[in-house]
């Protein structure tokens, strides 16, 4: 929470909001307490207020882990600001703790001097014990560093809805469940947020039970009123709108943006979209989103497993659909064999991997970047496949379109890497102009005629892209057969010839390499153009790296930044860019996978910084890392 006007306790008028550049707020409670929903709504309010924002939802792997325990705590963090930001914030300024477990689990993260709003109603002996507390933190002095606001969220809620309960309009339990709205109302008041949109939304959500809708609205307002009337809160705050580039904005999560990107690509290609998927955290929402969009000529197929999911997509690709399959690490592992098939078929296909913590089932609800090498080289045989990564929730839209562009242009399966963080967190997204989206209808044309005197050659290649023709069943005269066995040039007939196998293997690599050669120049962020330290990242570390680099530059450091979106082939400019810098740092949420690829390719002593804690990097952490690894080189030659 960085203030523009410095409040002083003595002179501050309670109800004149303090203006802030940004604030980080974390809602934490039981899985059943509706923290994700509360966070989502506050995010929308911040979005509507014109803030830049980044969110970080974090919840347990169990559907509903035992109530009251730390394992059962679900949290949602929001960072919102009046300027361009890139992370969900390192430490919260405000923590809302719905019960002792939430308090204990998250208090450690709170900024010293930060505010913690505690639902005191839940601090009885049993609850403390369940949370694993030896003593009551509200009493044992452990919160001395923070501004503690004890609020009876539960009792206030029940009191607000006394009449409804008495009238039998709702049960006590139902009433109690509204307490998250009390928290939301209170926090909305704290940050001077209008709540009209939320009220409207509640009425829509509970359209079938107006009583519930009104009860929630009532509690929401009750929260605001509590803030306004109790004088318990010394200050309210205001985070003015950010100077975002002009445009129409909404908030969007990575999974949603990715799904929209796929639909947009299909629309811009003039193709039906076929999605074969098998549910898996954190990728399932892509299937859920697409299933709602059948009016865009989208067919979704919930397959019996991940292998059937990709297999069905391959079938649909043969039939002329823009085909996609989405999963997470364990599911991608299962798809490996079929990705190889798609690679030798040379059919367009997008394989989405929303990465999560591994190995094996690992940490299914947490984020990680540890499937990179699986995506780039983890197949039997020489089966090169392009790999594209998603940088942020909003970027998932563009990355999906780019993956589709490559798939359609080059007729190849493309791996599209997202991750649990990007998938679930949200950011304000400037809604693109539909007409300005890439026109993918030119990326391909279905073959309609024979490409040889009196037969069809399914592997006759375009000399530029090396792509083979895409001839779909139903086209007379182009009947052909695809298979996973090695093929002769042009005809695609089975060939066991050794020299041909070598030639085809080289050609399959060359096809993928060419994709790189045809990319626009690499985007290097180096405002002064003279940095000696280069940070190379990929995927969702974009935000934290940009934030860190920004901070460092503010401190007079000179540091350049490249965030790779294409991991295979790696952008051909990169090597040259790396050579221009004395120190190359590669921070990853894995154990050095991109670093391995870059070192092998360039023989440059890339410095890896690896951390896998299921959470994205903190920008402060990266500032330290870059300071340490960059050393003198950060001073440049000045």
């Amino acid at each position: 929470m960085s203030a523009t006007t410095t409040p002083s306790t003595s002179t501050g008028e309670p109800h004149r909001p303090v203006e802030l550049h940004d604030a980080v707020i974390r809602f934490a409670g039981d899985s059943g307490d509706g923290m994700q929903l509360t966070g989502d709504r506050f995010t929308t309010e911040a979005g509507l207020a014109g803030n830049d924002l980044v969110t970080f939802p974090d919840y347990p792997a169990e559907i509903r882990a035992p109530a009251g325990t730390q394992a059962g705590v679900s949290s949602f963090q929001l960072h919102f600001s009046d300027h361009d930001i890139h992370t969900a914030g390192d430490a919260p300024d405000v923590l809302v703790a719905m019960n002792p477990a939430a308090l204990l689990k998250h208090i450690g993260a709170l900024k010293p001097g930060g505010t913690v709003i505690v639902n005191v109603d839940e601090f009885d002996e049993r609850a403390l014990q369940k949370a694993g507390a030896m003593t009551n933190p509200l009493e044992d002095g452990s919160l001395v560093d923070f501004r503690v606001q004890e609020v009876g969220l539960t009792s206030l809620t029940l009191r607000t809805l006394e009449a409804e309960i008495a009238d039998g309009d709702m049960t006590r339990k139902e009433a109690e469940r509204c307490k998250n709205m009390l928290a939301l109302g209170l926090v909305s008041w704290m940050f001077s947020r209008p709540m009209d949109a939320t009220e409207e939304w509640l009425r829509e959500k509970f359209a079938k039970r107006p009583v519930l809708a009104e009860a929630n609205v009532k509690v929401l307002r009750s929260g605001r009123n509590y803030g306004e009337t109790t004088e318990a809160f010394a200050f309210t705050y205001e985070v003015p709108a950010a100077q975002l580039p002009p445009g129409r904005y909404r908030t969007i999560s990575g999974n949603q943006a990715l799904a929209y990107g796929l639909v947009a690509a299909a629309q811009r290609a003039g193709l039906p979209l076929f999605a074969g998927a098998y549910p898996i955290t954190p990728a399932s929402d892509i299937l859920h989103e697409l299933a709602k969009l059948k009016h865009f000529d989208v067919t979704t197929f919930q397959a019996e497993d991940e292998i059937a999911a990709i297999a069905s997509a391959i079938g649909a690709a043969f039939g002329g659909s823009l085909a996609v399959t989405a999963s997470s690490g364990p599911g991608i592992a299962l798809k490996t064999e079929a990705i190889g098939l798609a690679a030798i078929y040379e059919l367009p296909l997008v394989v989405v991997d929303v990465q999560r913590g591994g190995p094996s089932t690992g940490l299914p609800t947490k984020t990680e970047q540890s499937d990179l090498l699986q995506a780039v080289v983890g197949r039997n045989g020489e089966a090169p496949v392009p790999v594209v990564a998603v940088k942020s929730p909003g970027d998932a839209f563009d990355a999906a379109i780019e993956a589709c562009r490559i798939a359609l242009t080059y007729r190849t399966p493309v791996m599209l890497l997202s991750d649990g963080y990007t998938a679930n967190s949200a950011e304000p997204w400037r809604i693109p102009d539909v007409d300005g989206l890439p026109d993918l209808s030119t990326a391909f044309a279905f073959a309609t005629e024979r490409n040889d005197a009196d037969r069809f050659l399914p592997y006759l290649r375009d000399p530029g892209t090396l792509a083979r023709p895409w001839a779909v069943p139903g086209t007379p005269g182009l009947e052909h057969r695809l298979g996973g066995l090695e093929k002769a040039p042009d005809t695609g007939a089975i060939s066991y010839d050794g020299a041909n196998h070598h030639a085809q293997t080289v050609l399959r690599h060359e096809r993928i390499t060419r994709i790189g050669a045809q990319l626009p120049p690499l985007d290097v962020d180096d405002p002064t153009g003279d940095a000696d330290v280069l940070v190379v990242g990929w995927g969702s570390t974009d935000g934290p790296i940009r934030a860190a680099v920004h901070t460092l530059r503010g401190n007079g450091r000179r540091v350049a930044h490249v965030q790779l979106t294409h991991l295979a082939p790696i952008h051909p400019d990169l090597e040259e860019v790396m050579r221009r810098h004395r120190v190359v740092i590669c921070p990853e949420n894995n154990m050095g996978q991109l670093a391995l690829l870059l070192r092998a390719r360039t023989l440059i002593d890339v410095k890896a910084y690896d951390r896998v804690t299921g959470a994205p990097f903190l920008s402060s952490e990266l500032v330290d890392v870059i300071e340490r690894l960059g050393g003198d080189a950060l001073e440049g030659e000045r």
Binding site: A197, P246, R248, R250, F274, A317, G319, R481, G483, A493
Partner: protein
């Protein structure tokens, strides 16, 4: 596709230019010839026909068909075909698979294609052996089979493909024989005509690794004794003179008795019964094809077809809302900057 204006095709129109590479004498040749001529007979068009196979000797099938084709990976053909069929309802999609491909590694995809009732015609070439990998026993090999991986005899109880398919809710289930061109052709035509998933088990002789596995049912001397031909609406009797009959026991299971003793208890075959129990009972008559074995169509009932329902949802969604990309992207709460 209307075929009225198109010229009648012949078997040759369905033969590709690829040299057929099965062992001399392999039962696959006969099936290939019958499929090709049946396609011509039923007025199929090469351009709108697709053969999808897995891996195995039998799965080389698509290469020899002058249609569209996909030789995929081991066991996954029904899943590939599902994606194709659902997204392209205008095509005739055939699946060719083996007893290993369909029942071992691919068992799950087979059963899901059947229970979903995807519009596929699935031909399972059952030779009770893994041919391509040179002779290991398969899920249909009888207990005690001695092959490469079972020098002391196999200990896995075999599956009965017909009862498995029935247990998996299949709407069309049949069995035929590689060498019986006429019977096979009739079954194939009926399978093709069925809307939804059609499952046809074809006894196929592997001359190299499992010769004569079906001799009891296909041998010149034995076949009349052992083929129980199921004919819609007809009593189930068999033998050179029809001297044996199938009757239902009181508990619903079936038995074979001399026709003379059967009286009016002879089962009259009706493949269109909604309840699959009778079909199942017939399948259980012959745990393995070493004695009297039913041949023909066990079950043929109407059911909701996955493809149709999928298309219908898309059509309904389209009718309800335009494909307006701008509106999609602008869904949710919007604000303007600048």
């Amino acid at each position: 596709m209307s075929t009225t204006e198109l010229p009648q095709l012949t078997r040759k129109d369905f033969s590709s230019d690829q040299e057929v590479r099965w062992c001399p004498g392999c039962g696959d040749y006969a099936v290939l010839a019958t499929v090709q001529s049946t396609l011509a007979d039923i007025g199929a068009r090469p351009e709108s026909t697709v053969f999808v196979s897995g891996i195995g000797c039998s799965s080389r099938f698509p290469y020899y068909m002058n249609t569209y084709g996909m030789h995929t990976i081991h066991g996954r053909a029904p899943a590939v075909a599902t994606g194709l069929s659902v997204s392209r309802p205008d095509l005739d999609v055939w699946v060719v698979t083996g007893d290993g491909d369909a029942l071992s590694i691919g068992g799950n995809h087979l059963l899901h294609a059947l229970r979903r009732n995807v519009n596929l015609t699935i031909l399972l070439f059952n030779n009770e052996i893994y041919g391509l990998t040179k002779g290991q026993y398969s899920p249909t090999s009888p207990l005690g089979s001695v092959h490469k991986s079972t020098p002391m005899g196999s200990i896995d109880r075999p599956l009965n493909p017909v009862s498995l398919a029935l247990g998996a809710e299949a709407t069309f289930v049949a069995r035929s024989i590689d060498s019986d061109r006429k019977h096979l052709s009739e079954v194939l035509a009926a399978a093709h005509a069925h809307r939804g998933a059609s499952f046809v088990e074809i006894y196929q002789n592997c001359v190299v690794f499992n010769d004569d596995a079906f001799a009891a049912v296909t041998g010149k001397d034995t076949k009349q004794q052992n083929q129980i031909r199921l004919r819609q609406g007809e009593p189930v009797v068999f033998g050179p003179e029809g001297e044996r009959a199938v009757v239902a026991g009181e508990d619903g299971s079936m038995r074979i008795v001399p026709t003379a003793e059967a009286g009016d208890r002879v089962v009259v075959h009706d493949a269109t019964r909604e309840d699959p129990t009778t079909a199942f009972a017939l399948a259980r008559l012959a745990p393995s094809p070493t004695g009297p074995t039913p041949i023909g169509i066990f079950r043929a009932v109407e059911g909701p077809v996955y493809d149709d329902l999928a298309r219908e949802q898309v059509a309904r969604a389209k009718a309800a809302a335009p494909a307006d990309l701008r509106a999609l992207l602008e869904g949710g709460n919007i604000w303007n900057v600048g």
